[in-house]
């Protein structure tokens, strides 16, 4: 787990329909429920099912957040779909010492050469999601990794938002999140 302080900016990479916005939303809600300042929002546009999309979260423990621009220099990047890595520049603007969180079967070390200056956390979220949820939708699962790697919020702070959002499917999502939390592999920055 890495120490992040002040205003933390997080960028999600996903595809239209994969729920990147939802995970951003859940994280922000969790942070807010802990009394933090936070907000979340999607990349605004008419992106269609399948197209690469972004979502953003900002969290600050101390003061209200006044910037609503898209995050261009994130502290944390979360990648929901491993196939995006070769398509979009996922580390664009990622701050030195920042955290890269990827859904992949690979270990952090294998992810790529050149990712040395960032902490890297990986998990095979697709398999977890398929096992636990029955569908390869990894947006909730990946929050578990994020929590593990950054400690930005407490895992249990997510339970209420997840329950509100998913109703009878909530418990399974929580389980997936927990499993991801457990199975996360982390490589500290070089």
């Amino acid at each position: 787990m890495i120490e992040l302080s002040g205003l933390i900016e997080i960028r999600w990479h996903g595809r239209g329909g994969q729920g990147a916005v939802t995970s951003a939303e859940l994280l922000a809600k969790a942070a807010i429920s802990e009394g933090k300042y936070a907000h979340a929002f999607p990349s605004f546009g008419p992106e269609r099912r399948g197209a690469p999309v972004l979502a953003f979260v900002r969290i600050d423990s101390n003061k209200p957040i006044r910037i609503r621009a898209e995050v261009s220099e994130p502290d944390v990047v979360v990648v929901l779909d491993p196939r995006l890595i070769k398509i979009v520049n996922i580390t664009s603007g990622l701050k030195e010492g920042g955290v890269l969180i990827i859904n992949t079967r690979k270990s952090p070390q294998d992810v790529q050469s050149g990712l040395g200056k960032w902490m890297v956390a990986t998990v095979d979220a697709t398999s977890i999601a398929e096992e636990v949820l029955g569908v390869p939708i990894t947006n909730t699962t990946m929050i578990g990794v994020l929590v593990r790697a950054t400690g930005l919020v407490k895992l249990k702070s997510l339970f209420e938002p997840v329950r509100q959002r998913f109703g009878r499917l909530a418990e399974r999502n929580i389980e997936a999140m927990k499993r991801a939390y457990e199975e996360t592999q982390i490589k500290e920055p070089a």
């Binding site: 939303e25 907000h39 910037i67």
Partner: protein
């Protein structure tokens, strides 16, 4: 104490409309307004709000259905944006001149062409003559608070006017952020029942919407204009009362670090918060800059603007809309007009920026302020400048 909850602003609007127990919602979908009405549709479908949700076939009909509902005394809500606000343009005049209180959330959006679904203030400015009360907001909480206030203001028997609450498309509408919703008990205290004095009613037949020959049309218009201007007092009263109950106060012009500022920036909507960051930074560097956040756009707060601006040397106004071939930014033009009679008055420098969803960062605001100061000193070839366009 109740805690703030993370919630999308659009959803929060729906929650307010539920808490005020609105009777009729007539709306037509348009990005970025959709989440508001979708949430309302859901509340109605789930039986959480006992209202008629009328899924009309166009925005023209949305506003028209609202006219009808308001005319029988229903508490009436709608939401729109951009092209939708344009398509109902004709109807907007009627709502105000027939004095029908309707509350509309407008998720500000740019106008075609080219088609843009993103935020700017073109739509809001395009309706500035229509006789509605128009309130701008800067974050989700302000949206929520002012939607609630809008019902109270519009339905006040001294007012009886429609009210628009403007929230920037996406930048406010699609944000999940901390929000405190009004408690039912607070709403009950704050918002009286809607009692339209002369509704359509077979037991007391009235005729609404007459034909006005020249001998009487001017009288009707003067009555409307005087009434709208007088509404400012009710707005102030409402915000005072709001502060009493909800502990958060609102003013027509909010001054941020403007006390001794030689240079002031004036903005509206969600950009205000970004601009604050720039102002803080510049203050940190010892520069005497401040920010005016214009919140009540109609009725226009002449006195407040004069008071807030007259001591400055330079007033930089950022518009998010162009009156093409005209004065440039409408806000800048009206501010100039308002300050015109003053003997001592700031130089007023106009910028247009943030069109069609283009962002302005804190650095951008710094650049605007610096360039504004430069223009104030050296002049510019242009009547106003458009910020951040690729040359």
């Amino acid at each position: 104490m109740v805690k703030k909850v993370g919630m999308e602003t659009s959803v929060a609007i729906g929650e307010v409309v539920k808490r005020v127990n609105a009777d009729v919602i007539a709306a037509y979908p348009i990005t970025p307004q959709t989440h508001i009405v979708e949430h309302l549709a859901e509340l109605v479908a789930e039986g959480e709000l006992d209202a008629a949700f009328i899924p009309v076939e166009s925005e023209h009909s949305a506003m028209s259905a609202c006219l009808g509902a308001a005319a029988v005394g229903a508490r009436t809500f709608t939401a729109s944006a951009g092209q939708g606000l344009e398509l109902m343009h004709e109807v907007l005049y009627v709502a105000s001149s027939m004095r029908l209180p309707i509350v509309m959330a407008v998720t500000n959006r740019a106008l075609s062409a080219p088609l843009s679904v993103w935020g700017d203030h073109s739509d809001a400015m395009a309706v500035r003559d229509t006789g509605w009360i128009q309130i701008f907001t800067e974050n989700g909480q302000e949206v929520v608070d002012n939607v609630l206030c809008a019902f109270r203001i519009g339905e006040d028997p001294r007012v009886l006017l429609p009210v628009m609450v403007h929230l920037d498309g996406f930048h406010l509408s699609h944000m999940i952020e901390p929000i405190l919703l009004p408690e039912p008990s607070q709403v009950a205290k704050f918002l009286p029942e809607n009692k339209y004095p002369l509704p359509l009613d077979p037991s007391r037949p009235v005729t609404m919407g007459d034909f006005g020959p020249p001998v009487i049309y001017s009288e009707a218009k003067k009555a409307q204009e005087v009434n709208l201007r007088a509404a400012k007092e009710v707005v102030l009263e409402c915000w005072n009362e709001f502060a009493r109950i909800f502990k958060h106060s609102y003013h027509p012009v909010e001054c941020y670090r403007s006390e001794d500022a030689k240079v002031l920036l004036l903005a509206m909507g969600s950009f205000c918060e970004t601009a604050m960051v720039a102002v803080d930074k510049m203050r940190g560097e010892g520069k005497a800059v401040g920010l005016l956040r214009l919140r009540l756009w109609r009725p226009f707060p002449f006195e407040e603007i004069r008071k807030a601006a007259q001591a400055a040397e330079v007033l930089i106004v950022l518009d998010r809309a162009i009156s093409f071939g005209g004065p440039g930014g409408p806000v800048c033009s009206e501010v100039r007009s308002a300050l015109y009679p003053l003997d001592k008055r700031p130089k007023v420098i106009g910028f247009v920026g943030g069109l069609g969803g283009r962002d302005i960062t804190p650095d951008g605001f710094e650049a605007i302020i610096s360039r504004g100061i430069e223009i104030a000193k050296k002049g510019s070839k242009e009547e106003f400048e458009i910020f951040g366009v690729r040359e």
